[in-house]
C-alpha cells in the first residue's frame, strides 16, 4: 500500500512550478519537453506488544524529464532537485532521444478544455497531527484488537501517513501543480488454536485520523483470523462464490488492464473488438470516476496533467469505451479520457483506470448470502499475480473463506482454488451488493456473487 497520495490541485506550489517552468523553457527548436517534479514525506509507526517497533520519518523528492524530437522519445530522472542534477537529467534525456524508434504518435498531452472538478485533497488537521498521537492511536488499535478474542495475537499494528506535492509543465501548454495528504491504519492478526494458526488483517482510512473507525478495524481483523480456525480443505466442485468487498476490489483491479486503450491497440485485450457488445451481466455498470471525492484515489488531474473525469466503461452489461492517455488516444484516433497514470518522477505516463466502481445494488452482504443455496464466501484470495492472465483471461487463485449452505454460513475452508475465465465471470455475475467499501485501492469494494466457478480442493 502506498502512503503517498496521487491527489493534487492546480497551481499552488510555486517553487516546484518554477522548477518545471525553467526546464521547459530550455526546449530547443523542434523539441517537446515535459518536466515532472514531486516532493513528499511519510510517517510510519509500527507497534508490537505495546511498544513502538519502528518509527519512520522521511522525505524525498525528484524530477523526471521527457524529451521528444522527430517522433523519438528519451527520458531520464533523478531522486534530487539540485540544479546540477536537473541539468544532468535534461542532458541525459536529450541523449536518450537518439535511440528511440520514430513513432508518429509520440508526443505530449495538450490542454483539451475539459474543466477540472475541484476537490479537497489537503487536510490541515492531518498535517498538524502530533507524533505522540500517531503512536497512541497505533497502540490503541493493537489493544482493541487483542481485546476482541483471547485467541488473537497482533503481528503488527500500523499507522501510515504521507503528503505529496507535484508540478508538471510541458512545451504544449500543460502547467499544473498541487498537493495532497492522506493517512490510514492497518492491523495484521494471528489466531491460534493448538498447533494451528490463521491470519487476518484490516484497515481504516480517513482524510484525517479522526475519521478512523478503530473498533470496526479491530473487529474485522480479529474475525477474519478466528473465523478460519479449524478450516478444512473442501471437496472440488462447481459452485457459487460470494466475493468479500476487498476481494471484489482486487478482481476489478485485474480487469482494469483489459479496459486499457493502449493494451487494446497493441492486441493485449480480449475486449479489443467488443465495443457495443454485451460482455457482462446486464446488472453490471462499471465506471471509472476519480472525480468522486469518496474514492481513495480521487484526483483532479491525471498523470499528464489533463482534467480527471468520470467515464462509463460498461453500461448495463454493454462495453462502451476504453480508457486512454493522449498517446493511446492518438494511436486509436480517439481523445484522451484523462486516464494517464504515473508511478512518480521515475517513470513516464502509462494508461489505466484511476478509481473503478461498480454501480452498487441494494442488498447487504448478509442478504446476498441468504440468497445462495450452495456456495462459498471468499474472504481472501492469494496469487492474483501468478494465476490470472488478463490477456488470455484465465483466472485461478488460491482462496479461503466459509462454506454457504441453504443461505447460512457454514464451516470454514482453506487451501483451495477458485477458477474460471475473466470473460465468463463477468457474464456469470448474479448479484451485486449495496455495501460499498471505500478501500485504499484503485477500485471500490462491494460484495459480488458469481455463479459457476470451479472450486478445487480435495
Amino acid at each position: 500500500m502506498s502512503t503517498s497520495s496521487s491527489n493534487s490541485s492546480s497551481n499552488n506550489i510555486p517553487d516546484l512550478q518554477a522548477i518545471v517552468d525553467r526546464v521547459v523553457a530550455k526546449a530547443g527548436k523542434g523539441e517537446q519537453i515535459e518536466a515532472y517534479v514531486s516532493r513528499g514525506g511519510e510517517t510510519a509507526v509500527r507497534v508490537y506488544e505495546g511498544e513502538v517497533e519502528h518509527f519512520v520519518s522521511a522525505q524525498s523528492e525528484g524530477i523526471g524529464i521527457r524529451v521528444i524530437k522527430d517522433g523519438r522519445t528519451g527520458f531520464a530522472y533523478a531522486g534530487t532537485l539540485d540544479a546540477e542534477a536537473i541539468a544532468e537529467v535534461l542532458a541525459d534525456a536529450r541523449d536518450n532521444v537518439a535511440f528511440g524508434t520514430p513513432d508518429e504518435y509520440a508526443g505530449l498531452a495538450e490542454p483539451d478544455g475539459v474543466a477540472q472538478i475541484p476537490q479537497k485533497f489537503w487536510d490541515d488537521e492531518l498535517a498538524a497531527y502530533a507524533t505522540a498521537d500517531k503512536i497512541s492511536l497505533t497502540k490503541e488499535l493493537e489493544k482493541l484488537t487483542l481485546g476482541m478474542d483471547s485467541r488473537v495475537r497482533v503481528e503488527e499494528s500500523n499507522y501510515d501517513d504521507g503528503w505529496g506535492e507535484v508540478a508538471v509543465a510541458t512545451t504544449t501548454g500543460i502547467r499544473e501543480s498541487g498537493r495532497g495528504n492522506s493517512c490510514y491504519v492497518s492491523v495484521s492478526t494471528l489466531a491460534d488454536d493448538g498447533d494451528e494458526t490463521q491470519t487476518g488483517f484490516s484497515f481504516s482510512v480517513g482524510d484525517s485520523p479522526k475519521e478512523f473507525n478503530l473498533p470496526k478495524a479491530a473487529r474485522e481483523a480479529a474475525d477474519r483470523a478466528t473465523r478460519l480456525l479449524g478450516a478444512v480443505k473442501p471437496p472440488s466442485k462447481r459452485t457459487t462464490v460470494v466475493l468479500d468487498p476487498y476481494v471484489t476490489s482486487q478482481f476489478l483491479g485485474v480487469l482494469s488492464s483489459t479496459l486499457n486503450g493502449e493494451n487494446v491497440s497493441k492486441g493485449r485485450s480480449f475486449f479489443a473488438d467488443k465495443i457495443g457488445e454485451t460482455v457482462a451481466d446486464p446488472r453490471i455498470t462499471l465506471v471509472d470516476d476519480p472525480t468522486n471525492p469518496l474514492a481513495y484515489t480521487a484526483t483532479d488531474i491525471d498523470g499528464e496533467g489533463l482534467a480527471a473525469r468520470r467515464n462509463v466503461l460498461i453500461e448495463n452489461g454493454v462495453l462502451k469505451m476504453f480508457v486512454q492517455s493522449s498517446y493511446s488516444a492518438r494511436r486509436t484516433g480517439t481523445k484522451s479520457t484523462g486516464n494517464a497514470t504515473r508511478g512518480g518522477f521515475g517513470g513516464t505516463p502509462g494508461v489505466g483506470c484511476l478509481a473503478m466502481q461498480l454501480q452498487p445494488g441494494t442488498q447487504s452482504q448478509e442478504e446476498l448470502i441468504k440468497g445462495v443455496d450452495d456456495g462459498v464466501w471468499i474472504q481472501m484470495v492469494q496469487g492474483l499475480h501468478s494465476g490470472v492472465n488478463p490477456i488470455s483471461g484465465d483466472f485461478s487463485t488460491g482462496a479461503s473463506g466459509m462454506m454457504i449452505r441453504n443461505g447460512a454460513v457454514a464451516e470454514p475452508v482453506r487451501e483451495f482454488t477458485i477458477a474460471s475465465t475473466l470473460q465468463r465471470m463477468l457474464l456469470d455475475i448474479v448479484a451485486i451488493g449495496g455495501d460499498i467499501d471505500w478501500l485504499p485501492s484503485r477500485a471500490v469494494g462491494l460484495t459480488l456473487v458469481i455463479r459457476d466457478v470451479t472450486m478445487s480442493g480435495q
Binding site: N96, L190, D192, Q382, T397
Partner: protein, 475 residues
C-alpha cells in the same frame, strides 16, 4: 550520466570522519545502536513494444538511510542530501524517533573499510554504448516474430544498474560493495482460434554486459514465442489433487514460498511462521537439502555484503529434511544473541532492512529426470512456474504454472492452460518423493515483502510432489 572509470571508482561516498559524527549523533538521545546506509545507484533501461523502441531511460538514485535502535524501538529517517549537514539532520530525526531516556556523548570508532564483492564484472554496462543495448531489443523482437504468424505482439526490456553501497554502524562495522545487475526480458502474445496466449522468458545476473556472450536474446525470444504457440492448443488445467513433476530450474519458487519465507527469523520471532519451534525436527522429505547462498557468483540474488554491512554467506537451512537454521538480520540475531547470517536486505536507502532470502535452492538428488516422468502414471508436468505467494503463519501457499503439460502413462502429453497450484508448505515438503540429479538455477525473481522488492534467485533439480491441488477448471 556517464560514469567516469565506473568500476574502478574507489573513493568513499562519504568520508569516514563524517560517518563517525553522524553515527554519534544518532546515539545522542540514548540509543544503543546507530547505522548509516548510503547508496548511489545509476541505471539504464530500454523497452521495445509493438515493434518500436519506446524509449531509453537513465536514472539516478542517491541517498542515505539512518537507523537508530533504542531497546525494542527502531527510529529511521532517510535523505537524498549527502552533505554533512543533511546527514546530521537525518540522524537527529532518527534519534528523535527512537528517543529513550537521557542522552549521552558517544564516540564511534569505525573499523578499517571492508570491501567485499562476490561478483566479477568483465564489461561494465556503463561502458557499453546505448545503441548496443537497444540492438538486443530489436534482435529479440525480430526473432520472436520470425517463428510463426500467430505471434501478434512482442515486448522486450533491457535493464542494467550499478549500485555502490556503504554501510557503517556504531559497533564499528564499515563495509562497502559495488553491485552490478543486468536484466533482459521478453514477452509475446500469440493469437489463435481459442483466443490469445502469452509466452515469457527472462535472464538476470549480477555481472555486466558479458552476460550476452553466453546467453542469446534471440534464443530467449524464440523460447517465449514457442511457449505462447504451444499454449494456443492448451486445454483447461485439471481441478483437484494430482502428482506434480516440476522441471529443473523452473520451480525454485516452490521452496521460496513453501518454506523460504517461513524460515525468516523476523516472522519466526513473532510466531507468524508455521516453522517456529521446529529446529532440529524433520520438516521435509529426507531427500530435501535447502540452502540460501548469497555468495553464488553471478547469480541474481548474489551480494558481496548484505544491506547491514555483513558479508554474504552460504547458509544450510534444511539438511536431509531436518530444519537446521533460520535466516537472520541484525535485529533478530541481536535478540537471540547469535550471529547474523547475511540476510539483512532492503530495497533502497529509503527502506528499513529486514530478513530476506538471496539465492535459495534445493541440492541435487539421484534420479534421472526422465525416470521421474516415467514413474508418474497420471499427473502434471510443469515446465515453467510463474510467481507465488504464501501465508507464513498457516503455511498455505500458491504458485502459478505458466507452461505445463499433462502426464499420461508416464509420458508428457497435452499442454495445459495457466492456473495456480495450492498447497500447505510443511505437507508439500514431506510429499516430495522423487528428486532428480539435474540441478539448475531458475529465472531472476523479484521478491516482495512488506512493500519492498529485492532481487532473489532460486533453483532446484527436477522433482515430484506426490500430490498437489491444481486450480484448473476441468473435471
Amino acid at each position: 550520466m556517464k560514469i567516469e572509470g565506473s568500476m574502478s571508482t574507489r573513493e568513499n561516498l562519504v568520508d569516514a570522519d563524517v560517518l563517525a559524527k553522524v553515527l554519534a549523533r544518532g546515539r545522542s538521545t540514548g540509543a544503543e545502536f546507530s547505522e548509516i546506509y548510503i547508496e548511489d545507484k545509476r541505471s539504464t533501461s530500454a523497452g521495445l513494444d509493438d515493434g518500436k523502441v519506446e524509449q531509453v531511460t537513465s536514472g539516478r538514485d542517491r541517498g542515505a538511510g539512518i537507523r537508530v535502535v533504542a531497546g525494542e524501538t527502531t527510529g529511521f529517517a532517510h535523505t537524498s542530501d549527502l552533505s554533512e549537514r543533511g546527514l546530521l539532520a537525518a540522524a537527529e530525526a532518527a534519534a528523535a524517533a527512537a528517543r529513550q531516556g537521557d542522552g549521552g556523548v558517544h564516540k564511534i570508532a569505525l573499523q578499517p573499510l571492508l570491501r567485499h564483492s562476490v561478483n566479477n564484472v568483465r564489461i561494465a554496462p556503463s561502458d557499453v554504448p546505448k545503441a548496443s543495448k537497444v540492438a538486443l531489443l530489436e534482435r529479440a523482437n525480430a526473432a520472436a516474430r520470425s517463428i510463426d504468424g500467430a505471434i501478434v505482439q512482442v515486448s522486450a526490456a533491457y535493464g542494467d544498474s550499478y549500485k555502490r553501497i556503504l554501510v557503517a554502524n556504531s559497533d564499528g562495522v564499515f563495509s562497502a560493495d559495488d553491485q552490478v545487475r543486468t536484466l533482459f526480458r521478453v514477452s509475446v502474445v500469440a493469437s489463435g482460434d481459442a483466443g490469445m496466449q502469452t509466452g515469457y522468458d527472462s535472464l538476470g545476473h549480477t555481472i555486466g554486459f558479458e552476460v550476452f556472450d553466453e546467453n542469446d536474446v534471440e534464443e530467449m525470444a524464440i523460447r517465449a514465442a514457442k511457449q505462447a504457440i504451444i499454449k494456443l492448443q492448451a486445454r483447461p488445467a485439471p481441478s483437484g489433487s494430482l502428482p506434480v513433476v516440476i522441471k529443473q530450474g523452473s520451480g525454485g519458487v516452490l521452496f521460496h514460498e513453501a518454506c523460504g519465507h517461513g524460515l525468516e527469523a523476523d516472522l519466526v520471532g513473532k510466531g507468524a511462521s508455521v516453522y517456529r519451534g521446529k529446529m532440529g525436527e524433520l520438516v521435509a522429505s529426507p531427500l530435501v537439502t535447502l540452502i540460501d547462498d548469497g555468495t553464488m557468483s553471478g547469480e541474481w540474488g548474489a551480494i558481496g555484503i548484505d544491506d547491514e554491512g555483513h558479508p554474504s554467506q552460504r547458509n544450510v537451512l534444511i539438511e536431509n529434511g531436518i530444519l537446521t537454521d533460520y535466516m537472520w538480520d541484525f535485529l533478530r540475531a541481536r535478540k537471540e544473541n547469535r550471529r547474523q547470517s547475511g540476510n539483512g536486505r532492503r530495497q533502497s536507502y529509503a527502506d528499513l532492512p529486514m530478513v530476506r532470502m538471496t539465492n535459495t535452492f534445493v541440492t541435487n538428488g539421484t534420479e534421472d529426470p526422465d525416470d521421474i516422468v516415467r514413474a508418474t502414471e497420471h499427473g502434471v508436468y510443469v515446465a515453467k512456474l510463474g510467481g507465488g505467494s504464501v501465508d507464513t503463519a498457516s503455511g498455505d501457499f500458491v504458485f502459478g504454472m505458466v507452461e505445463a503439460y499433462l502426464i499420461e502413462n508416464g509420458e508428457i502429453t497435452e499442454p495445459l492452460r495457466e492456473s495456480n497450484l495450492i498447497g500447505n508448505g510443511p505437507q508439500v515438503l514431506k510429499d516430495i518423493d522423487l528428486l532428480g540429479n539435474d540441478f539448475a538455477m531458475g529465472n531472476p525473481g523479484m521478491c516482495g515483502k512488506d512493500g519492498q522488492g529485492v532481487p532473489v534467485g532460486d533453483g532446484q533439480p527436477t522433482l515430484r510432489v506426490k500430490a498437489m491441488t491444481i486450480g484448473g477448471t476441468a473435471a
